[in-house]
């Protein structure tokens, strides 16, 4: 035994004291950030509900929710939001009719069928769809999609429920694909092998064992897609016509509609603070919050209740046997050739019993390939349209000069800079608070009730439509705090919007570090903070970084939160202080597309620059993720 080994000894008392003070100081800092985050989250919720309450008292709950006329500026004004609720539900329903079958088929394709190389192309392509800013979708919908609908159906205007549903369907696709694909990939290999070993075909295994095993994840994916569709504002405003009518008859997809979020986006700027109209808009926001809450709760219930094998296996519980028991009937069905209950495509289910399993597999796989092709086609068409029309507009002058002639000439320099200011400010504001709060919640509390409530609040705000943040920023920061339409108001609004995302992704990154690693460090006599700083945080950095970069991309592409808080359409000079308004790319594109005829070239140029900016940010995120993924694995 070598004698040089460190001998047991006590730590000096000075060392111990400084260490204790440091521990306490660090803990206090994180505690403070957590408090700030919590106060912000609950203040927003309370503020919205408080300002929305008067409309329910004044007009009555039933008249507000079930009234069939929305005309707040008429005489007498009418505050019935039934047409808006109908519009939201119908557009969402239509979007899901497109996105659910396509999304699940593409997810199965990526997880089960695609050779690794092809997967490496299709997966990022779908993620790229998620990165396109909603105002760019809206622009594409306005210029191409509505035109196509107008001509194909020979109607006076293509701005319809159908246009909204197609567009939202495409926008919801990436959410459905990636969450479903995760769930499918997490089904343990043993299930597949068990089924294949019984002589089931690949398709029977997919339909009978894999998809049932991933059902909870797929259901959650659909619910999240619904949430995404309900919350969208700008793209919808640009293509649905915005007439507050209930389609006649109800299934008339060529009727214009108006959604809850669209109403906020259109009317927010015109309602006088404290008026009935103002409270009615907050009432709409409260309804949106309630819908978000319902969507969240259902998604959580589904995940917990059906609890996919993936989740259980990851938690390391012995419950792994249970989902297998559930998968057995499907396995038997697969083995005996009886069609299993859950077949994602109705066409495949109808193929009937007499067709041989091999033929059925062929048909099913063909449908998957076709679906994937369609989705890639969407992406290709959008990208080609924007890039081929946008490139001619690009020049040094366009990128640097201020706009002239209402944006028809000149450039978008101030808008690019304004966007960078807004996003940079939002990140500076939200990042320290978000990360600190997550560290406190995950590492210093033992998941008690308080942490649970904070997490629920963060989850709720995480799914809340961005326009609701815009409404809050406008009413509280711009009007009540009298910041005016300013860079400051805009970056705080954007920061508040991404705060819940940062908290949640940081928490997830921390949760992915196995408990054994923490115990290993503590067992060596490292302090709590030393353990966090040296052992827990380093491997969590890529996860935190990815979440942050995705937040940057989201903030850069968002229009709704800054619509009435920070931006002006035209400004020659850069802002001299944070109290002045700025230009921003998404807003510039929105106004150019909807209010300035004859600016087609600059519209495309702006769309291309915005798209390139946001895509670049996402590419960085993907790069960071793949770069670090290999380095830490347990």
């Amino acid at each position: 035994m070598p004698e040089v080994l460190p001998q047991p000894g006590r730590l000096s008392s000075l060392w111990k004291r400084t260490r204790r003070i440091r521990e306490r100081a660090v803990r206090t800092v994180w505690f403070c950030t957590a408090i700030v985050a919590v106060v912000a989250i609950f203040f927003i919720l309370v503020f919205l509900v408080r300002n929305g309450y008067p409309i329910f008292a004044e007009v009555g709950v039933r008249a507000f929710l079930a009234g069939d006329t929305w005309n707040p500026t008429g005489t007498p004004p009418a505050y019935g939001i039934l047409p808006l609720i109908a519009g939201t539900l119908l557009v969402t329903l239509g979007a899901m009719a497109i996105a659910v079958p396509l999304g699940i088929a593409v997810a199965v394709f990526i997880a089960e069928l695609a050779p690794p190389r092809l997967r490496g192309v299709v997966k990022p392509a779908v993620e790229l769809l998620a990165g396109i800013p909603s105002v760019v979708y809206g622009f594409f919908g306005l210029v191409i999609l509505t035109d196509w609908i107008r001509i194909s159906f020979e109607i006076p205007s293509g701005e319809t429920w159908l246009a909204g549903s197609i567009l939202l369907g495409i926008m919801a696709l990436p959410t459905i694909v990636s969450v479903s694909e995760d769930a499918i990939a997490a089904v343990p290999r043993g299930y597949r092998e068990g089924s294949l070993a019984l002589g089931a075909t690949h398709w029977q295994t997919i339909a009978g064992v894999v998809i049932p095993g991933a059902l909870s994840g797929i259901t959650a994916a659909i619910i999240l897609g619904v949430g995404r569709a309900i919350g969208e504002t700008m793209a919808v405003i640009m293509v649905v016509g915005n007439a507050a009518v209930i389609p006649e008859p109800l299934w008339n997809v060529l009727s214009p509609v108006r959604t809850l979020t669209g109403t906020l986006g259109i009317e927010m700027g015109e309602a006088a603070a404290g008026s009935t109209h103002y409270h009615a808009l907050f009432g709409v926001a409260v309804v949106l919050l309630a819908i978000t809450l319902a969507v969240n709760l259902i998604a959580r219930y589904v995940l917990l209740r059906l609890g996919g094998p993936a989740r259980r296996a990851r938690r390391g519980h012995s419950g792994a046997a249970k989902p297998f028991a559930r998968a057995v009937p499907g396995l038997l069905a697969a083995a005996t050739g009886i069609p299993a209950a859950a077949v994602p495509l109705p066409g495949a289910a109808r193929a009937g019993r007499r067709v041989s399993p091999k033929t059925r597999q062929k048909i099913a796989f063909w449908l998957m390939y076709a679906s994937t092709g369609i989705v890639l086609l969407f992406l290709g068409v959008i990208l080609f349209d924007i890039v081929s029309n946008g490139l001619p507009a690009l020049s040094w002058e366009f990128l640097t000069a201020p706009p002239r002639d209402l944006g028809r000439a000149g450039g978008i320099g101030p808008a690019i800079l304004g966007t960078i200011y807004l996003v940079g400010g939002a990140i500076l504001f939200a990042l320290p608070i978000g990360i600190g709060a997550a560290i406190y919640l995950h590492e210093y509390t033992r998941g008690g009730r308080v942490a649970g409530i904070i997490r629920a609040g963060a989850d709720l705000l995480n799914g809340t439509p961005s326009i609701v943040f815009g409404l809050f920023g406008f009413a509280f920061l711009v009007l009540y705090l009298n910041l005016g339409v300013s860079l400051l108001a805009g970056l705080v609004t954007l920061g508040l919007m991404i705060l819940p995302t940062i908290i949640r992704t940081t928490e997830e990154a921390l949760a992915s570090i196995p408990a054994g690693v923490r115990e290993g460090s503590l067992a060596l006599g490292a302090t709590h903070w030393q353990t966090i700083w040296r052992v827990v945080l380093p491997p969590a950095v890529p996860g935190i970084l990815t979440g942050t970069i995705l937040s940057i991309g989201r903030a850069a592409g968002e229009t709704a939160p800054i619509l009435f808080t920070a931006v002006v359409f035209s400004r020659r000079l850069l802002p001299g202080s944070v109290m002045e308004p700025v230009m921003a790319l998404p807003y510039h594109l929105f106004i150019l597309a909807t209010n300035v005829p004859g600016a087609r070239e600059n519209q495309y140029g702006t769309a291309l620059v915005l798209l390139a900016l946001v895509t670049a940010v996402y590419l960085v995120a993907i790069f960071v993720r793949s770069r670090y993924r290999s380095s830490a694995r347990w």
Partner: protein
Amino acid sequence: MQDDDSILATEHLSLYYGDNQALRDISVRIPRNRVTALIGPSGCGKSTLLRCFNRLNDLIEGVRIEGRILFEGRDIRDPGCDVVELRKRIGMVFQKPNPFPSSIYDNVAYGPRVHGVRNRGALDAIVRVSLEAAALWDEVADRLHDSAMGLSGGQQQRLCIARTLAVGPGVILMDEPCSALDPIATSKIENLINDLKEHYTVVIVTHNMQQAARVSDFTGFMYLGRLIEFGPTARIFENPREELTNNYVTGRFG
């Protein structure tokens, strides 16, 4: 056994996970510089008892403890007891090897670094002797800066032991350190335990009775949260006083 000989002890220790009592009135004295094995069927509380000694149970929610746990005569649950220093002086090796996702060198240097060793030369020396003491040096000397995640399971476990030694503990707690290892790796660890007892007090939890017989000087048999019998290993295995112990060591149940 005299007081001077024991380094760790419990007095009427009971532990509850919520309503579930995991340890029942355990009084035991762990002799200094000896290897003590805790044996018993799964769920008998041996790991729980082990985790009491470095207060790692503190991390689990809803744990309630009654009685006293003594380290060198002082109650470690005393508010004045510094849990960080306690864990520095009582090291632990876990059932599943849990190296940090960093290099072999950084794994071993981690403990000294958090305890304030900055000098590169001193760190190098500690890393080397710790790895030598853990019988791993020869296998990793030329790749100290490779990731520890690339080592085999047995090597990872010896790395975790080296990591523990580098802090300079007086006691090493081992929680079924070989249960995830193959027989060859297991015998290496057992030889290592034999070497270690010259300088360290080792408490090892195992459900492999041959292992307990091979490596330990003293053995405690636990059953359903109680310490049924404690004594020199040879006596426990050859001439147990309790019927339950006899049934267990002769393989009649468990």
